[in-house]
């Protein structure tokens, strides 16, 4: 037998089993307590409360296994992959496993949040422990029945076998197993023996999706439910002055017109706050209709007068302010190694470039919506939100209710991308239902959705490198962004540790435009900037760009730095794999390549984009993507995430043009905002580094590097460096500046 991993966990606080009245057994476990203490979260989750248990496994007397998947599903595949991990160690046939989305239950679940590509990373060890513990208890129960030692028994595919060859199914012994003590240590499988992990398993909701069954928040209905649309100020900086609802009220489908905002104001004034509450509590007009269309029509019939309260900001002004910030001295230093100033003073040459990115809306395919039913007895909430625990707490505070009165059921989400980390639409729905004491569904049009955003902040970077005797001696990254962007640990990403004199500074401009996390927060543009810069730097140094990266990473290997987040070996590994698989440097005539290598969200990625130029416009033909995410739990889901990340990244880097004119968003629907479509997508070839290291997430890390791979390929094709996104708007040549 292959050597296996023996683990001892403090199990008392982490696992519990009991017999079910309906027959069978249930095992609950705590994900968060079992998470590694040094685990770092990408967003401030301190506001969330963690209680006892997390996921549950139910084993029936027929041997069927139900796994209650605790994490919200936003399309990242955890509803499939997390149960796969449990089923692997429990050793049951995947066909015998039934997966259900657990409702929000702060008493029974922890870290019920989807964000930062962390679900699998945090869940890996405890999910395995749980499966293995359940299996051990079943084996112990069978051994006791046979009167033999448990070590003489083995279990596979839901069947326990003893030395004589007698067999018992899991279902045969669940009742006895439930009464046993939870074992203190269990043996985990050797990854070589995995039969479920590493096998492609289809999306567990596939049949419902392809036949159009109700799954999403927008599909949810209850008897007597009304529909609510919200009229918000058209510009950031404006508030409601007055409105005339007589025309709206005259429509047959309009039930009521109310205003909301008071509850949020009171909440904010009380000194309470939650990072999931992005709004200030300005008055909004709400139209309640019998159907979605009635509510939408009613909203159009409202005549509102708005007044300006704070500045009406424009992107043009932002551009200027951010460039000024980059030239100024109002920086916070985030990391400082050596002496950058001196390195620059002693340099033979300094390369300095500015990179610019726009605001971005999330544009989840399913517009923001939520169901709320507030009554004197309880507050029932149903819908798509990435942070149900925080949302329940805020709603309780907002409506001055006990947390016990508030329940949230989660639906499948038509995309998240960070937008559904924020609960503004949940809070609006709760306030509306509270006001009329009826069940309502808050619905958004695409126009609402795109203009009520919590946008990716517009950011600019100024990157400088000093060159002395053909070597990079200093690297200085300055960030200027709207409302702040860079997160605490990002300064420790590559090239931190690889260059002796290294400094990262940030500055921000406080705007009244709401900004927040957007797929691969903080790095989604930073990677484009840095990897474009390195491409130019290699050229300036007259060295091969692949070799330059290998050498920089060798520097880290030779001078290990405890304060870096990435592994130089793993970054070199993906770089070499991408080079090999992409036929780097050996393309056909007319095809141009660009390279980008990056670490973020605990995963190492290298990408090569192959492009052609058609009538002066770049067209991406193929992307080779090499990924080191440790063990690949579900190759099907992993492929979807990786390819989706790459194509999403190309779409936004190439086409996404968003901004503001006098506080009003420039675009409000897909006719004025370009999303990537099939005709613009290349084939993405994915290659994994084979690994037995614990898995890391895939929802985000393939997105950030691709912008630079494409920009570098455009340079190879045209000789033009494009340092401003969207790339398609900035195809004209840029002057070279070398100080």
């Amino acid at each position: 037998m292959a050597p296996s991993k023996k683990m001892t966990f403090s199990r008392r606080s982490f696992l519990k089993s009991s017999a079910l009245a309906s027959g069978g057994m249930i095992i609950g476990f705590n994900l968060f307590n079992a998470c590694k203490p040094e685990a770092k979260l990408p967003v401030d989750l301190s506001a969330l409360n963690y209680n006892d248990f997390n996921a549950f496994i139910k084993i029936s007397e027929e041997g069927k296994v139900t796994i209650f998947s605790p994490n919200p599903e936003i399309g990242q595949g955890v509803k499939t992959s997390m149960p796969m991990i449990i089923a692997e160690e429990l050793d049951v046939l995947w066909e015998d496993v039934y997966v259900v989305q657990a409702p929000l239950d702060t008493k029974n679940y922890t870290r019920q949040v989807a964000g930062g590509s962390q679900s699998i990373r945090f869940g890996w060890e405890p999910l395995r422990q749980t499966g293995a513990t359940a299996k051990q208890m079943l084996v112990n129960a069978a051994a006791a029945r046979w009167g033999v030692d448990a070590s003489e028994c083995s279990a596979k595919n839901g069947v326990i076998t003893n030395a004589k060859g007698d067999k018992l199914g899991y279902g045969d012994v669940v009742l006895e197993a439930a009464g046993l003590e939870v074992p203190e240590d269990v043996t985990l499988k050797d990854p070589k023996d995995f039969t479920i992990i590493g096998q492609g398993k289809g999306n567990v909701d596939i049949d419902k999706i392809i036949t159009g069954k109700p799954l999403y928040g927008l599909d949810y209905k209850e008897e007597g439910m009304l529909y609510a649309t919200v009229l918000r100020p058209p510009a950031f900086g404006q508030i409601l002055e007055s409105f005339d609802d007589s025309e709206a009220r005259a429509l047959p489908g309009v039930v009521d017109v109310i205003t909301i905002g008071e509850k949020v104001r009171a909440y904010n004034d009380s000194g309470k706050n939650s990072w999931t509450m992005p709004m200030s509590g300005t008055d909004k007009v709400v139209v309640i209709g019998k159907t979605t269309w009635d509510a939408m029509k009613g909203k159009k019939a409202i005549k509102a007068v708005w007044k300006t309260e704070t500045a009406l900001e424009s992107s043009e002004i932002h551009d200027k302010v951010l460039l000024d910030l980059l030239e100024g001295n109002k920086f916070n230093t985030r990391r400082q190694d050596g002496n950058v100033k001196q390195a620059f003073a002693n340099a033979d040459k300094v390369l300095e470039r500015v990179y610019e990115s726009p605001f971005l809306p999330h544009n989840c395919m399913e517009p923001m919506n939520f169901f709320a039913n507030v009554s004197p007895e309880k507050v029932r909430l149903v819908g798509p939100v990435q942070t149900p625990e925080a949302a329940a707490q805020v709603v309780a505070d907002l409506l001055e209710r006990d947390l016990e009165d508030v329940s949230i059921d989660m639906t499948r989400m038509g995309g998240g991308f960070g937008r559904r980390l924020y609960g503004d639409f949940v809070y609006e729905a709760a306030e509306i239902s509270n006001a009329i004491q009826k069940p309502i569904k808050l619905v958004s049009s695409r126009e609402d959705d795109m203009t009520m955003g919590v946008y990716r902040p517009s950011s600019k970077y100024k990157i400088s490198a000093s060159i002395k005797s053909g070597k990079i001696t200093g690297y200085h990254l300055k960030e200027a962004s709207i409302n702040g962007n860079m997160y605490g640990l990002i300064p420790n990403f590559f090239p931190a540790g690889a260059i002796e004199n290294y400094q990262v500074d940030t500055a921000n401009y406080k705007s009244n435009i709401t900004t927040g996390a957007w797929r691969a927060p903080y790095t989604n543009f930073l990677a484009s900037a840095e990897q474009s810069f390195f491409d130019e730097l290699a050229e300036e140094l007259g060295v091969d760009r692949v070799q330059m990266h290998m050498d920089l990473l060798d520097n880290v290997k030779n001078n290990p730095d405890a304060n870096i987040e990435y592994s130089p070996e793993r970054l070199q590994g993906v770089l070499q794999l991408a080079i090999e698989k992409s036929n780097w440097g050996k393309t056909e005539v007319g095809v141009f390549q660009g390279l980008s290598v990056y670490y973020c969200h605990n995963t190492h990625v290298a990408e090569v984009a192959d492009i052609t130029m058609e009538d002066g416009v770049p067209s991406v033909k193929r992307v080779t993507c090499a990924v080191d995410c440790g063990i690949v739990v579900n190759p099907f889901g992993a492929m979807n995430q990786i390819k989706g990340g790459v194509l999403d990244g190309i779409g936004h880097a190439m086409y996404a043009d968003f901004g503001f004119v006098d506080g009003v968003p420039k675009s409000n629907n897909f006719d004025s905002y370009q999303m990537i479509r099939m005709g613009q997508t290349p084939q993405v070839d994915v290659h994994f580094i084979e690994s037995d290291i614990d898995p890391t997430g895939l929802g985000e890390p393939t997105l950030p590097p691709i912008g630079a791979a494409v920009a570098n390929a455009i340079y190879a094709a045209t000789g033009n460096r494009i340092n401003k996104q969207p790339l398609i708007n900035n195809l004209e040549p840029k002057e070279k500046v070398l100080g």
Partner: protein, 153 residues
């Protein structure tokens, strides 16, 4: 409010609604067929695609008054057991990420393959260009259309 007679998935429905109500909202809110999705409301994303007399049609742009007398098919009625070749292909390729756009993608693909059962790659890409997938599952959608066309021919 006027009443309209609709034929959806071979069933007759009498619906009371304003004449300008888009078919999309009639299907979703009145007939309880929520498989047809709302994405943009202006004909740009394809999430709301249904078949009207066999043609892929944006139900967000079709008013109920224009839909009377037509044979309307939604994702729920594409096949009796969810086993239309396009649905099978979607399952085999494991296309969906969030899945929200997929009903529209499937309806576009199935209408297209009816007129062109063995399309070239370029024809597939052109035919599917009107359907946005925010999760960018485009590689898989493209492959699934190909797989479906092999099943059909």
């Amino acid at each position: 409010m006027p009443t309209f007679n609709l034929k959806v998935n071979n069933e007759k429905h009498t619906v009371e609604a304003d004449a300008d109500t888009p078919l999309l909202w009639v299907l979703r809110d009145k007939i309880n067929l929520v498989g047809t999705k709302f994405g943009c409301g202006i004909g740009q994303c394809g999430a709301c695609t249904v078949h009207v007399d066999g043609n892929a049609t944006r139900s967000c742009l079709l008013k109920i008054s224009q839909a009377e007398g037509a044979n309307i098919t939604t994702i729920e009625g594409l096949s009796e057991y969810g086993d239309h070749p396009v649905q099978q292909a979607w399952k085999e390729v494991d296309v969906p990420q969030c899945g929200y756009c997929q009903a529209g993608q499937i309806m576009t693909a199935s209408a297209f393959l009816k007129t062109n059962p063995s399309p070239s790659q370029t024809e597939i890409r052109d035919a599917m260009h009107g359907n946005i997938c925010r999760c960018a599952a485009y590689n898989s959608i493209e492959e699934a259309v190909k797989v479906a066309s092999e099943k059909l021919s």
